[in-house]
């Protein structure tokens, strides 16, 4: 339904121009919960403002339902935004805020009242309809902002880091709430966040952005298990990187006892492995087997993080699930064998900087 085709945005002119978005292209399907994830300054908010219509793109096309809307003003796009600071109108009541879009469209009074009632019920705030929006708590303001943006039934709802101002507990609640709203309304959501956990738990698909470019678009599971590059691997979850080399279909790690056969082109590579896949204590077949010294153990309740270093000093972290009985998996100072199972290894091109 929404297609971005080589969408580009630069600010400034001539030599001082800064390119915030480099030819971004992707498609979003009807009813999808799509997340733009990236560190601050990666261009995700700029992209959202382009979709909302607050900024015109410098190049490329933005096609909604077959129509290029790149230069359509925001008040004529069937796209509404939940702003980071909510941007509720402080001089209006909750009901007036929620009914604003319908009022601006000149809908009849009775229809507005009915929609407002339905929207407030949807976000469970019917009892606060007459309250001034400034007199609400952060979580309540958040719900009003949602109801206000949903009231006119947009084709796409844009959410600009809507949960970042809430405390931890409320944020978890709102994550569930948002997902429920999205499923109940069947609307397409484009959600912007820098919080990887938020992105992983809520999204159907995630676009990871850095430096104004899309790094990878994939489902949360694929993003975690099959990162396209070192940036994505490092940004999502914790991970280990080890420099290695491929020769004649065999992966050689300088610290490993023997090479491992892999289907990969020859040349230098970066080996990536998640801490939970590092096996301690025994040498396994079909794995790179290394010797490592234990530096320290950090207890995390469900699991223990074991910080190790290899013979050449490069660090390695293993995550071991805590058993009900059995105590610690190893002790600091010990030298133990470590296996990196072949199926858990990801080989990334190593030419790029992290």
């Amino acid at each position: 339904m929404l297609d971005l085709h080589r969408l580009t945005k630069s600010f400034g002119k001539g030599d001082s121009a800064v390119t915030a978005l480099h030819e971004v292209s992707f498609s979003i399907a009807e009813g999808e919960f799509f997340t733009l994830l990236g560190p601050s300054g990666c261009g995700k908010t700029t992209l959202l403002r382009l979709i909302a219509g607050f900024e015109p793109p410098s190049g490329g096309a933005l096609v909604l339902d077959g129509r290029d809307i790149a230069h359509v003003p925001p008040n004529q796009r069937p796209v509404n935004t939940v702003f980071q600071n909510y941007a509720l109108f402080p001089h209006m009541t909750v009901a007036e805020n929620v009914g604003f879009a319908l009022g601006a469209q000149g809908r009849p009074r009775a229809e507005i009242a009915a929609t407002v009632e339905r929207m407030l019920a949807l976000v469970k705030l019917s009892h606060l309809a007459g309250r001034k929006s400034a007199a609400l708590s952060g979580g309540q303001q958040q719900r009003v902002a949602l109801a206000r943006a949903l009231a006119a039934r947009p084709r796409i709802l844009l959410l600009d880091e809507p949960l970042s101002a809430l405390d931890m507990k409320l944020r978890k609640e709102m994550q569930v709430e948002l997902k429920r709203l999205q499923q109940e309304t069947g609307l397409t959501f484009i959600f912007v966040t820098h919080d990887q956990e938020e992105a992983l738990t809520m999204s159907d698909r995630i676009a990871v952005m850095a430096g104004g470019r899309i790094q990878q678009i994939a489902s949360p599971r694929d993003l975690y298990d099959q990162p396209a590059n070192r940036f994505v691997a490092g940004f999502i979850g914790e991970t280990n990187f080890l420099p290695a080399h491929c020769t004649a279909g065999r992966l050689t790690l300088p610290q490993a006892a023997a090479p491992l056969p892999v289907p990969h082109a020859d040349g230098p590579v970066t080996v990536m492995i998640r801490p939970e896949h590092v096996a301690l204590g025994q040498a396994r077949p079909d794995a790179l087997v290394l010797t490592a010294q234990v530096d320290r153990l950090v207890y995390f309740g469900t699991d223990t993080h074991v910080h190790l270093h290899l013979s050449d000093g490069s660090p390695l972290v293993a995550r071991v699930q805590n058993a009900l009985r059995g105590g610690q998996p190893c002790a600091a100072g010990q030298t133990i064998p470590v296996s990196l199972p072949g199926e858990a290894l990801r080989l990334l091109p190593c030419d790029e900087a992290a």
């Binding site: 607050f54 008040n75 941007a87 001089h91 879009a101 601006a104």
Partner: protein, 301 residues
């Protein structure tokens, strides 16, 4: 009596001590003179100005009425009513003109980058450096019969004879709007500056046209600034003296000029005092309306 009460009393005494100079000045130079004016308004006029100490309601009576010199029939005083009406009308018109001109100006300044705003505000304050008289005469130079505009229009062939602009209500209006414009711009600017432009963006996102956004989002939020500016312009306009004197001459008199006349060549101090108090009452009414508006605004939003 416990220590706490004693301490509270000492504290109250200290506060009164601090307020004393202000209270003394207000009493001496504001309340006392106002009392004198109030007393004078109920006395009879002296032969050469001043007052005779004799109770009389003639001053108050003459504010709105006049007695026929021959048969003593009472009728409404046309001259006074015209001047009163003109004062209120011109002051309202001045307020409206300064608002129409001042709002976009204030908007322009408030939307400049932060480091440029000081410069534009500085330009707004420059007229305050010049004497009111000089500024008013400068406006006169623009619109008088041999002034800049008339000469320009004649040269362009738009008119055959100079347009009479001086000594009309229009001249007074131009003069007052020019003089009081900064008083509108500054409070409106400070209100717009506090306005969160993301709210306008939100309105625009929610299908509002520019006009709808202005009416429903921006104006309600800068309303306190508009009301403050209107009062700052309306109140001194009502009592304006120099501008109507120069721009309106004897033809377009305002309340301030009428009062001055009673204390000067009119030699009717009680009438002047009564007119002064009428003016004060008008100002007070405007201020009460203002407080109602703003406090009501706070209650509702």
């Amino acid at each position: 009596m416990d220590a706490e009460t004693l301490a509270a009393r000492a504290d109250a005494r200290r506060r009164w001590g601090l307020a004393a100079p202000a209270v003394a000045i207000i009493t001496l130079f504001s309340i006392l003179p106002l009392g004198v004016v109030l007393v004078y308004s109920f006395l009879a006029p002296g032969d050469f100005g001043n007052v005779r100490w004799q109770l009389s309601f003639e001053g108050w009576f003459s504010v709105l009425f006049e007695r026929d010199i021959f048969d003593d029939t009472i009728s409404l005083s046309d001259a006074h009513l015209t001047i009163l009406g003109r004062s209120v009308a011109l002051s309202l018109a001045t307020t409206l003109i300064t608002l129409v001109l001042g709002l976009p100006t204030a908007w322009f300044i408030a939307t400049r980058p932060l480091h440029q705003r000081a410069f534009w505000l500085f330009l707004i304050t420059i007229p305050f450096w010049t004497n009111l008289l000089v500024r008013t005469i400068a406006v006169q130079e623009m619109i008088r019969s041999e002034g800049v505009f008339n000469r320009l229009f004649l040269w362009l062939g738009l008119i055959d004879a100079p347009i009479q602009m001086m000594f009309t209500n229009f001249a007074v209006l131009v003069g007052m709007a020019y003089v009081f414009l900064p008083l509108m711009v500054l409070p409106v600017y400070s209100a717009i500056e506090k306005f969160d432009f993301r709210l306008a963006e939100a309105g625009y996102d929610l299908y509002a046209s520019r006009a709808y956004c202005l009416r429903r989002v921006i104006l309600p939020m800068v309303r306190p600034g508009i009301i403050a500016g209107s009062i700052l312009v309306f109140v001194p306009s009502l009592g304006a003296y120099v501008t109507p004197r120069i721009m309106g001459g004897g033809k377009s008199m305002m309340l301030g000029n009428l009062i001055e006349m009673q204390f000067g060549q009119g030699r009717n101090w009680p009438l002047g005092a009564a007119l002064s108090l009428t003016l004060t009452a008008l100002v007070l009414a405007a201020l009460i309306w203002y407080t109602r508006l703003t406090s009501g605004g706070r209650r509702n939003g």
